[in-house]
Amino acid sequence: MPKTLFEKIWESHEVDADLIYIDLHLVHEVTSPQAFDGLRLAGRGVRRPDRTLATADHNVPTDGTPTAAMIADHLSREQVEALERNCEEFGIPLYSLGSDRRGIVHVIGPELGVTQPGMTIVCGDSHTSTHGAFGALAFGIGTSEVEHVLATQTLVQRRPQTLRIDYSGTLSSGVTAKDLILATIGRLGTSGMQGYAVEFAGEAIRGLSMENRMTICNMTIEGGGKAGMISPDEITVEFVRGRPGAPEDFDAAATEWLGMATDEAASFDREEVIEAPDIAPMVTWGTTPGMVAEVTSAVPDPALFDSPADQEAAARALAYMDLKAGTPLTEVSLDRVFIGSCTNSRISDLREAAAVVEGRKIAPTLKGMVVPGSQQVKVEAEEEGLDEIFRSAGFEWRESGCSACLGMNPDILQPGERCASTSNRNFEGRQGRLGRTHLVSPSMAAAAAVEGTFVDIRDWS
C-alpha cells in the first residue's frame, strides 16, 4: 500500500500502542532542569544518554562571554550551570559556552549531521519542527515529556492526522521561504494546522535548499501544526553528506532515506493547494504570525474582519503595535533590525542579508544586529567576509545564540521600540516588554535596515 513519509516513520517507531520510540532527544537549559530533578527524585536514570544531545542557547549572552561561570545575570548563569551539572551526572554530550559547536539547538542538529531522514526527534522546544525539513518526524514537547523521554526513550503519543500543502509553480524573484510560510499561516490561520503532521510538497518546495526548507518547517508550529515535514530527496542527502554525524555506510543510508519519501499514490487526511507564484514578500502587522500582509498593502482595518472575536483581536493588536489602519506598510518606520533566530540565522540567510547591505549603510536612526545561529555559522560567515559587510554597514556582529528572538538574555527591545525581525514570533513582549515586532525575511529585514522603513524587495535597488 502506498504510504506517506509520516506513516513510514510512525509505523517504524511504534513500540506499543500509542508509544513511539525516540531516536534523538535534543536538550537545552530552559526546559530541562525540572525534568532532571524529576529523575533524581524518583531514583531513575537516563535510558539512552547516547541518543541525547544538549546545548545552551536561550540564556547565553551574545557578547562573547566565554564560560557559564562568567554569565553576568545570576539566574541565567545558574540555569546554564545546572545544565552542565545534569549532563555531567547523566553522561549526556553537551556543547556549552566555550564550545565551538555551540549554537541554537535547531541549528546545530542539522549542522552536525545528527538530524537525518526517517528519524523521530524531540526537544523541549516548540520549534523542533525545524528538523522535519530532513524528512524526520520532529516536534516540541513539554518538560514532563522531556523527563519521560529521558527515562524511557519513548513518548506516549496519539497518531496525528496528515495534511499535505502542495505549492504549485515556483516563487517569484525576491520572494523567499519565509514569505511562503508567513503567507501560508496568514491563509490557514494560527490554528489552521492544529492536530496535523503537515507535509510541505510541490514544485516550489523541491526547488528550495535545505536551509530554506528548515525555515518553512520551523514555523509550522506558528500555524498550530504538530510537525512539519518534507520528503527527503537528493538535496537532503547532499546536505548530510560529509557532516560529523553522517553514517559510515553513507550510500546505504542514502538509499534508505530516499525510500522514506511519500509514495506517489499515498493519500492524506486533508490536502491544501497554494499557488507559489502568487506569494509576495510578507510583513506581519499584529501580534500573532497569522496577522500578516503583503508588503505592498496597508495595515488592515479591524472592522473588516469576519467575526467579532477577530475584529477585537485586530483592534487590540493595532493598539499594541501603535499602528493605524490604512497606513501603507512601506511607511512604517523602524528603530531596530534583528537578523537571527532558528528561523533565519543559517549561513544562507546571512548571505542573503549581506548581499542586500553590501556597500550600503543602515539608516542612522536605527540599530541593527546580526546574530549567527551557531558558532560554526559564525566562523563560516567570517571566512566569507560577511561580518565585515555587516559591520561596515553599521550592524553589530554577535556571538551565536537565541538572542533577541525571545529576550531571555541581554539582547532585548526597549518598551515601544519597533523591530523588523527574521525570527518567528511577534507576540506581545516577545522581544522585550512592550517591544513591537514585525516578522520578515532576511533580505526584507536587511533592506528595511538600509531604508529605515519597510520596502518591497522586488523593486528596490
Binding site: 532542569p33 531513575r44 545546572a82 528519524m119 518538560t143 515529556e145 524511557t152 554525524g245 531571555m408 507576540f427
Partner: protein, 187 residues
C-alpha cells in the same frame, strides 16, 4: 499529580483568542529551575499593566487557540499554582493541551457558543467520568481521550506507567529498529 474526579466552583473568564504562553508565563520567570511557585508570575505583564483581571477560581473559560506558541510547561505550572483546575476553550495548542494533562489541569474543548454560556453562568460543575460540564445554562458533554482520562482520574505518573511496559521497549531496541540516526553522538 492529583487525581481528578469532580471540579466545582466559580468561573473566571479570559475572553481573548490566541493567548500564547509568552503572555501566560513571561520569559523572565523561565530562568527558575524549580517546578513550583509560578502562580505569582501568571500573566505577569497583563496583570501589572491592568490589562486583565482574573479571579483565582477553579475553572477558567478562555478563547480559541489557548496556550499557543512556546512549549514552556511553566505556563501550566503557573495556571495550576494560581488555582485553576480546569480550562474550557474552543481549542488549545497541541503542546499546551498535552502539558496540562501531565499536571492534573483538565483541558476541556467546547464550542464558542457553549464557552460563552458557561462563562455567563458564573459557576459550573465538571464531572470527568461522565465528561460533562453542568452550569445554569445547560449540561454540555465534552470529549477526552480514554487513556488521558484514565491517567487524570487516577493521578497516574506517566513515566511509571510507561516503565510498566519496559519489556516492549527492551525488545524494540533488541530488534535493531532503534538504530536509526547517527552511529554516535560522541562526535
Amino acid at each position: 499529580m492529583e487525581a481528578i474526579d469532580r471540579i466545582e466552583g466559580e468561573v473566571a473568564v479570559l475572553d481573548r483568542a490566541d493567548v500564547d504562553t509568552d503572555q501566560i508565563m513571561p520569559k523572565q520567570f523561565l530562568k527558575r529551575v524549580e517546578r513550583t511557585g509560578y502562580g505569582e508570575f501568571l500573566f505577569y505583564d497583563w496583570f501589572k499593566d491592568g490589562e486583565i483581571e482574573l479571579e483565582a477560581h477553579p475553572i477558567l473559560v478562555a478563547g480559541r487557540n489557548f496556550g499557543s506558541g512556546s512549549s514552556r510547561e511553566h505556563a501550566v505550572w503557573g495556571l495550576y499554582d494560581y488555582g485553576f483546575r480546569a480550562i474550557i476553550a474552543p481549542s488549545f495548542s497541541d503542546i499546551f493541551y498535552s502539558n496540562c494533562t501531565k499536571n492534573g489541569l483538565l483541558p476541556i474543548i467546547l464550542d464558542e457558543e457553549k464557552c460563552k454560556l458557561v462563562a455567563s453562568s458564573g459557576r459550573a460543575v465538571i464531572e470527568l467520568d461522565d465528561e460533562t460540564v453542568t452550569c445554569e445554562e445547560g449540561v454540555f458533554t465534552f470529549e477526552i481521550d480514554e487513556e488521558i482520562k484514565h491517567r487524570l482520574s487516577n493521578g497516574l505518573d506517566d513515566v511509571a506507567h510507561t516503565l510498566q511496559r519496559v519489556e516492549r521497549i527492551d525488545s524494540f531496541e533488541a530488534t535493531g529498529a532503534a538504530n536509526r540516526g547517527p552511529d554516535t553522538l560522541a562526535l
